[in-house]
Amino acid sequence: MIEFRQVSKQFPDGTLAVDDFSLVIPSRKTTVFVGSSGCGKTTILRMINRMIDRTSGSIEIDGEDIVGLDKVKLRRRIGYVMQNSGLLPHRKVIDNVATVPLLNGVPKKQAHERALELLDTVGLDRSLANRYPSQLSGGQQQRVGVARGLAADPNILLMDEPFGAVDPLVRAELQQELIRLQRELDKTVVFVTHDIDEAFLLGDQVVILQKGGVIVQKGSPTEILSAPANDFVADFIGATKGKRALHIDRRDGREIVLDSEGRAAGVLVDGPTGGSKDAPA
């Protein structure tokens, strides 16, 4: 569990990026920060592994204030995946994946074996292990980035717009992979995006932020869709227009779901067993 208590961050130039931010990020769930650029979402994420140090307030991981922890040790037990994969261009894929275990003193052979397993985990062919990052496609690089984030088997995985720079088809594929991974690995994932569709797809808890790290609304996707806190949220999630404002039309005895433009979005069928994703178990 990660807990923010009245955390603020003021940069040396005077910008108040995050103002009095409090939030509990539950363990083994995916929490997604979503908001427009400049809302402070990346700053909040980077305060968790102390890439940015908060100005005031406290941040605790499992009840331990991270201010007392050694930055380097803290970062090595938190996985970090960034937008452009951030791989080291002069190292082979396998060495990139094994970076953190090697830093922690794991013998090379063992670290490489583990790295190969991780390539399987993220759905990459082992034959890519000896390539350099520049020889891979954007989507493949991003998978390597995820494998590197998982290499030290961290409990927490921070993802800063990891799929922002890949094309929509690959992005959809990577999102599905992440959902599968999360089902298998059960990590505490903190994910930052500006794409509300991505947030609703991946998040157990979605946190909608406004400038200064102000939480406008937080909750499960269902909760947010069913009761947007205000017009900003309604507008941001597209509940008033487009493909989320759906209505039912009856044609030839079948119920067709149409969007606000009148385009067919699907048909109504009997609900799948298990009900909604967020329904209380």
Partner: protein
């Protein structure tokens, strides 16, 4: 043209290929001075350049300071230093270090600065210490530009080390100064040709080193298809219809 022939004849004259005043001994002196200067300059400039490149601080100070030193005329500096330190090898070594530090310094810090900030950010985020970032990320990725700085410094050292003999330190400059005093133009030209040959040789060696030290992953995906002929695309199967007409 005649002078050139005479200069070559001078170089290959058996009398000049040995002995206490022969080409080999002056060549060794010249190379020794150059090497000593290169080592001293590197010891000063590389750590300093790395510090500037890693922290991003002190860059403008270093640039203006070394730029100022670079503007000093080496011959004038040499004479001042020789008057102070006396005849010998110390004055030319110091004068040449002043000449060689700026390009090496620039190579060292610009090598670090040229690295994608996101690469360094992510190295820090996965838990590398500052020292590990320098050693495992910045040094290897900055190497090509550092070698470039060393290359240009070496060229300047070899060319300017000719002045060392002005204060009696020997080297290939000896032939030029002796030739000047005795109006022996073939000898002067021979000395110059030897310095030029040495400079070109060092250029060649550094060009090869520079190729070798580019990290493999960085070269791996570089476009090797350098266009040498028409900019018009050659037709290949499946390409758009911009065929060569």
């Amino acid at each position: 043209m005649n002078l050139l022939v005479e200069a070559f004849a001078w170089i290959f004259d058996p009398a000049h290929l040995g002995g206490p005043n022969g080409i080999p001994i002056r060549l060794v002196q010249h190379l020794t001075i150059s090497l000593v200067v290169l080592v001293i300059s590197s010891v000063i400039a590389i750590p300093l350049g790395y510090l500037i490149g890693h922290t991003g601080r002190g860059r403008s100070l270093a640039v203006s300071l070394t730029g100022g030193f670079r503007a000093l005329p080496t011959l004038g500096l040499l004479i001042v230093l020789a008057l102070w330190l006396g005849i010998g090898v110390e004055a030319p070594v110091i004068a040449l270090v002043v000449l060689a530090v700026p390009p090496i310094l620039a190579g060292a810090y610009s090598g670090f600065e040229a690295i994608d900030r996101r690469t360094i950010d992510s190295a820090r985020a996965v838990g590398m210490t500052e020292w590990q970032i320098v050693r495992k990320v910045e040094v290897p990725l900055g190497l090509p530009l550092l070698i470039g700085g060393l290359r240009s410094a070496t060229l300047q050292i070899i060319a300017t080390a000719t002045l060392a003999d002005y204060v009696g330190a020997g080297g290939l400059g000896r032939f030029i100064f002796v030739g000047l005093k005795s109006n022996d133009y073939p000898q002067m030209l021979a000395g110059s040709l030897l310095v030029i040959a040495l400079a070109l040789l060092s250029e060649g060696i550094f060009a090869i080193i520079q190729k070798l030290v580019v990290p493999r992953g960085v070269v791996a995906n570089q476009n090797t298809d350098v266009r040498t002929s028409s900019p018009r695309r050659v037709a290949v199967v499946g390409s758009p219809t911009e065929e060569r007409k």
